[in-house]
Amino acid sequence: MTKDITLTIDGKEVSVPAGTLIPDAAKKIGIDIPVFCYHPKMEPVGMCRQCLVEIGRPAFDRTTGEAVLEEDGSPKINWGWKLETSCTNPVSEGMVVNTKSEKAVKGQNEMLEFQLLSHPLDCPVCDKGGECLLQDLTLAHGGTESRFNFDEKRHAEKKVALSDLIWLDRERCIQCGRCVRFQSEIVGEAVLGFEARGSHTQIMTTSEPGFDSAFSGNTTDICPVGALTTAQFRFGARPWEMEATASVCTECPVGCNTVLNTRRDVKTGGKVVVKRVMPRQNESVNETWICDKGRFTDFSADSRLTAPSIGWTDAIASAAQNLSAADEPIFVVDGSLPNEDLFNIKSLADEVGAKAYCYSEVGGGELTTKSGTYGKSGAGDAILVIGSDLYVDAPIFWLRAKQAVDRGATLIVATEEETRLDNFASTVVRDFAQGLEAAKEAFSKAENTVILYKGDDALAQSCADLNPTSLVGVWNDANTQGAWEMGYEAISDLDVLKGKTVYVAGKSALVASALEVAKFVVAQTAEDVQIAVSITEASGSKCVTLPSRNISESLGTFTSAERRVQLFHPAVPAEGDTLPGFVITAQVAEKMGVTLDIEAEDIFANFFDLSYADLSKTNPEEKLLIGGNCYENTQGVGVQL
């Protein structure tokens, strides 16, 4: 245990662990020291000089080592003649810091003046306007008149496409290096850099194709100004116009916490739409990051069915009738459904004595019930990644594996093809058997052991045989783990549906596959079913479609591959007459004589020994680690099963 250090900032005492830097200690007692280059997740570099403060340190007698006292008995404090950058100074016992003294504020304002010399201050058309550190400081402290000749402002390119996703405005860049350091220090893909020097310094990408990284969007959050923006959100909305709703990413089984920023949009005819996806802090899951796959999730589904073609009453009746009439109806879901939908479907299947399957290409669901978090893995721990290219399948898991290696963990990668994780692994093999062998060896010396696998039942079993502390399945869908917890049986092909009456719920692709083989399909989906419908016609099989709400429209929970149950909230009004999946199932069930709950929270409580309130607990301490536009987690960090 590191012992706490007590110091005084602006007259207030605060105790923090040794090694804490002054801006973080100040944050703890609600004092904001202005920073640009400093970010709590990266090593301080002292570049922007914005965080200048006065620092006094207790005087010690050189010969006796005793503290020197003033006449009144208080410790004598030595003040240097210079202001110091608070971000590069760890706290020390008895330190006294003035962040708002006349001298400190003068120094900070002087740095601001320098920063603004050639800055365009085009806030009115800048995506960052409203959530920009530079704008905030300028508003609070900027001079009303420039002492710098307007004609001498340096100009630079304002539209540089670093990649298809990220744009750079070189005029707005304040050379803080956060983006460069994020890529090299945190991600380990040094694809950004500075070129030229002095007042010509500018950001460039060094990779071909440009800004080649699955985490690039995060730089737009941590860029303290509007120099980096996403192609998707560029000129899309002003930050203050948008609502922020807590959600969970659906693109992979990591379960990154997100915020959906929504606004009424003229382009969509005045509908409220998701304008952008932002990370929401959860130190156990995604910290303050999300990957580009999640950030650029497409929530628009223009050709989606918004009501059953025959109306809800008839559709529900037809579904119930067909299911009741069948001698062996089958229920099939995939991992795209929330727990609440899964529970109601499973309950109905159980009531009517039917089989309930979850479609998954990855096997071993019954084995992953001991999976747990590996976000804090480090020295003494060993990780096996087998069969999965985490960079593609679950990018934030990839990032955490890489970071675990940074902290000293042993990493073994066993994949058929080369992956980007190879660079960070201590052992790389292109053969599973060898991988398992290497892991066995490494695990025998390790404290905590983690396996992330993607493969069939046999592979899962071989992994489980190594008896790791946690066994994590890298599922194709966000909530496949939830389906296993619920007791669904896994299938990886749909032959069993041949000639049957089937209740299919999930992605349109699953519906389409079911239609190819089944006799009659009750299709519950939130996706575009046009293709499914055309297949129906072609195959001549019969189908009734029950359009459900998607994640951005509903309340519910997901269980991540690490078995963390997390809550998401409705962010936009439901499209047309769509209904929540669990309500649809309950209505069908009712017609079949089975009563199911229709409130999300009640359904949740039927299965879990938990309530939504439990999932909504927060950890305000974590907030100290935010440095950028990542949202603070005020809506709940979920519960690890």
Binding site: V45, R49, K82, G107, L117, R197, G198, S199
Partner: protein, 410 residues
């Protein structure tokens, strides 16, 4: 006086290893190899040798700061020599290379380094080739490599070329550059003796500092202290340039007066003009008003500040009365703007601003307000930059305006 550093001026062909050996070459190193390493460091401490790269930090004290719980250790010779007006290290390396290399070897032995690097500015590529040859000759003669002179000690010396940036003379930028990164200063602390090259304890010393070491070990601290002053012992090479009849390098005891350097050795000011100002440390200097008091000031680390300057690397630039300082500072600002690495805001932005202001003032388009503003901007930079370059850029500007106001009358 016999030369201690510029020995080639006394002895022909001392850059040939045979000659060097005949002239007591490597005696200091041989002696050191028989001493305890800490005694070598203590001898250099006792000699009071101060760093010749600019800051004047005692070399022996620096060596004693090496973290002995973290290995390996490295020694890096700073041969970046980029300060305008400084051209002494080059002469040593070209003409008396073995003494320099011997100094590196002794320093490396003292701090337990088995690898040492000479970091040279990119333009010194010929010097680097030449040193490579000399290093090879030393290896052949058994003064580098494994088990040197039958001892347990092994050492390799490598040369490394920079890419032409003044900032890479700053020791931490130099180390970044050596590691293959952008040459930009690191935040200090940690200082190189705790975390230097590849985060390992590293001694960075100037070429001239290291070249002084063999004499100290051979003749002992007392022998060295026969030259110079109590607090600034030894001799120093003064690079004399500017408006002076005989520019060049002069090796003189520390404590020699400006007058003796400029008028006795340098032959005074050409064309019957008179001396106006002295820049004692190249472009980074304050401008000292060249009155009698200044001219009679001893050139050592303690005395120069009394007349408003710093000895720095002792590159004395003489400014005569035909020079208007509003012009001179356009030159220094052009240099510092060009060389600012851009890492920190006040220097990156401030050097640009000051360059623009000095140009405007010199072109005659400036106003009195511009002169005030220029001074203000310089003050605003002072004490707030990440490394000393930003600070340096303000020195000539501020002291010119304050001490020579008539040159800035609009």
């Amino acid at each position: 006086m016999d030369y201690m550093l510029l020995r080639h001026r006394d002895i022909n062909n001392i850059n040939q290893i045979d000659t060097f050996l005949k002239e007591d070459g490597f005696e200091g190193f041989k002696k050191a190899l028989k001493m305890e390493t800490v005694d070598v460091t203590n001898e250099v401490k006792a000699a009071g040798l101060r760093g010749r790269g600019g800051a004047g930090f005692p070399a022996g004290v620096k060596w004693s700061f090496m973290d002995n719980n973290n290995w390996p250790h490295y020694v890096v010779a700073n041969a970046d020599e980029s300060e305008p007006g400084t051209f002494k290290d080059r002469e040593i390396m070209e003409s008396n290379p073995f003494q320099f290399l011997e100094g590196i070897a002794i320093a490396s032995y003292a701090v337990g380094a088995n690898a040492a690097y000479v970091y040279l500015r990119g333009e010194f590529w010929e010097v680097a080739h030449f040193l490579d040859e000399k290093i090879e000759e030393m290896e052949k003669a058994g003064f580098l490599g494994e088990n040197i002179q039958g001892s347990e000690y092994s050492l390799k010396i490598y040369t490394h070329l920079g890419a032409g940036a003044y900032i890479c003379g700053e020791e931490t930028a130099l180390l970044e550059s050596m590691e293959g990164k952008r040459g930009q200063p690191r935040v200090r602390p940690p200082f190189p003796p705790s975390e230097g090259l590849y985060n390992k304890p590293t001694v960075v010393n100037n070429v001239e500092t290291l070249s002084s070491v063999p004499y100290i070990i051979k003749n002992g601290a007392e022998g060295y202290r026969k030259f110079g002053t109590e607090k600034s012992p030894g001799t120093k090479i003064f690079s004399l340039s500017g408006n002076v009849n005989n520019p060049g390098n002069y090796e003189l005891p520390l404590g020699t007066t400006f007058r003796e350097l400029i008028f006795t050795h340098g032959g005074g000011i050409p064309d019957g003009k008179s001396i106006k100002a002295i820049m004692p440390a190249g472009a980074s200097s304050s401008l000292i008003v060249a009155n009698d008091e200044a001219l009679d000031t001893a050139m050592d680390y303690e005395s120069v500040p009394n007349v408003g300057g710093d000895l720095g690397s002792a590159s004395v630039i003489v400014v005569d009365d035909s020079v208007s300082l509003d012009w001179l500072i356009t030159k220094t600002m052009d240099f510092f703007h060009h060389e600012s690495c851009g890492k920190c805001t006040p220097c990156r932005e401030g050097s640009y601003w000051m360059k623009k202001l000095t140009e405007r003032i010199h072109s005659g388009e400036g106003t009195e307000k511009d002169v005030e503003l220029l001074k203000d901007v310089a003050y605003q930079i002072q004490g707030k930059t990440l490394c000393a370059l930003g600070e340096f850029s303000t020195m000539a500007v501020v002291t010119s305006i304050e001490r020579f106001p008539e040159d800035f009358k609009i």
